[in-house]
């Protein structure tokens, strides 16, 4: 479980996060949604420790993460996998080397065992015969899947995805969403996804945190969201005529 308490973060005079509280439970796909500039990526980066919040705490299974130094954070970070918006694969390494990198750094597994693990992870994300390819030789969807394979290589307890569907076609987006949901159930990990893809919200959102102007504006499940009367949430989620029609037909 991940708990954030009263998180504030500013960049100069720009106050991006204003006192965010939330609890993200294991075995669920937790979504952070909001418009551009609402602070969702900043919140994710504060949670994983890429940004230090100005105020507030982040707890990973009751351990306070924000007060720890780099060395103290290492045991938690070894249980953490992250898929970046642009995949952030190491471009000087092959797909296989990307996946076994953390295993080489932190385990005493033999080369054969690491390759076996890499093949398992690639198989898990439905990729075959890409071990020796470099990231520049992969399509956007394949990069995302390799990013997921790298994130699960250490069997994470916490999985973070920063806009996993950006730049992907709708069919590939659905595949990535399904994969995230399956992995969350399989590993019973606490999954946090930052997205503004409404298909993801409706499809896999067990818990949704809606940020508006740096504040927590609404939280609940995707079913509750359909019945919500919060104007700002409805304006954001059902902005397109298609989504409005879908909601009306369900109602």
């Amino acid at each position: 479980m991940i708990e954030v308490q009263n998180i504030y973060k500013s960049f100069g005079d720009n106050e991006v996060l204003k006192g965010i509280d939330a609890i993200f439970e294991p075995g669920k796909v937790n979504l952070i949604i909001g418009g551009s500039g609402s602070g969702k990526s900043t919140l994710l980066k504060c949670i994983v420790g890429l940004h230090d919040p100005d105020q507030g705490e982040v707890f990973f299974d009751q351990q306070e993460f924000t007060g720890m130094d780099f060395e103290e954070r290492i045991p938690i970070r070894r249980n953490l996998g992250m898929l970046f918006q642009n995949s952030a694969l190491f471009d000087s390494m092959t797909v296989e080397q990307n996946i076994i990198f953390a295993l080489s750094m932190f385990t005493d597994m033999s080369q054969a065992e690491k390759i076996e693990r890499a093949n398992f992870c690639l198989d898990r994300v439905n990729l075959k015969n890409v071990n020796k390819l470099y990231p520049s030789e992969l399509s956007g969807g394949m990069k995302k899947r390799v990013g997921i394979a790298r994130a699960i290589s250490m069997s994470p307890k916490y999985l973070f995805c920063d806009e996993p569907n950006s730049g992907l076609d709708p069919a590939t987006s659905i595949l990535i969403d399904e994969l995230i949901q399956e992995l969350t159930e399989e590993y019973q990990c606490t999954t946090l996804v930052v997205t503004h893809d409404m298909n993801s919200v409706m499809g896999i959102g067990d818990y949704i945190l809606f940020l508006y102007n740096g504040q927590k504006f609404w939280e609940g499940s995707n079913e509750e969201m359909l019945r919500s009367d919060v104007q700002e949430l409805n304006d954001f989620v059902f902005a397109s005529p298609l989504m409005k029609a879908a909601r009306d037909s369900i109602k």
């Binding site: 420790g49 890429l50 970070r77 970046f84 990198f101 750094m105």
Partner: protein
């Protein structure tokens, strides 16, 4: 502003010299960087230093036209100026341009594409993993390149002097053997070690803290080369003043 950057540079170096997570992986990276810095720059150093040595011989011969001065002095001056100044400093400036800009772009690109964030998320000390192997490789390979540069410059002087008729090969060889002080080589190696550190650490700092996109990565590379060259020249003066 200067003090802010110097402070950040020192704090980055503190992170760089933390105990590596796994020496085996760092060693592999060190050998890779030694190949990149050393073998990758060898041909450039060979060409530049050979021509510098040849040109130096011609210019010394041009300035020392006197029956009172033996031509063997040309070899002596060429040897000492190459060992003490031209070998280390010209090589240092050339390597700053070639190796320094490559390091800054590489680390800067990793920063803007979130690859450094990915390392940190994994619990890896990113400054250590990315910068320490480069600094160790630079401190080892730059002195090797400088020694090769000095040898090529002295040989270039022999070839240039012989081809132009400015000095007879026997006189030149006699000159480079006369009054040799081994301490000058020590000074050259000390300079090279410090240049190796600057050539790798300054661009790594500029690349590591770059913010923005491709434009900023390019600007960081330019700034790294400018700051690095000035640092090399300042250190050149300090080392010379302290050691000679």
């Amino acid at each position: 502003m200067i003090f802010h950057h110097f402070g950040s540079y020192i704090l980055l170096l503190k992170k760089v010299f933390k105990k590596p997570e796994k020496w085996k992986i760092y060693l592999k990276e060190i050998f890779h960087e030694m190949n990149e810095i050393g073998i990758g720059s060898l041909s450039l150093i060979l060409i530049i230093s050979t021509f510098i040595g040849a040109v130096m011989t011609l210019q010394i011969a041009f300035q020392l036209v006197s029956d009172l001065i033996p031509t063997a002095v040309i070899g002596q001056i060429n040897r000492d100026s190459n060992i003490l100044e031209l070998g280390p400093t010209i090589s240092g400036l050339v390597l700053m341009g070639k190796v320094g800009s490559a390091i800054s772009s590489q680390i800067g690109s990793m920063r803007v594409t979130e690859q450094i964030d990915a390392l940190e998320i994994m619990g890896i000390n990113a400054p250590g993993f990315l910068i320490l192997p480069k600094i160790i490789a630079g401190v080892i390979m730059v002195p090797v390149l400088v020694i090769i540069a000095i040898f090529c410059a002295i040989t270039g002087g022999l070839i240039g002097g012989s081809l132009s008729g400015a000095v007879a090969p026997s006189d030149y060889i006699q000159g480079i053997q006369e009054g040799f002080n081994g301490f000058t080589v020590t000074v050259a190696i000390v300079k090279a070690i410090i240049y190796g550190f600057i050539i790798t650490s300054v661009p790594a700092y500029k690349g590591f803290y770059v913010r923005g996109g491709a434009l900023e990565v390019g600007q960081a590379g330019t700034q790294a080369v400018v700051i690095g060259c000035i640092s090399i020249l300042a250190c050149d003066y300090i080392i010379t003043a302290l050691m000679l």
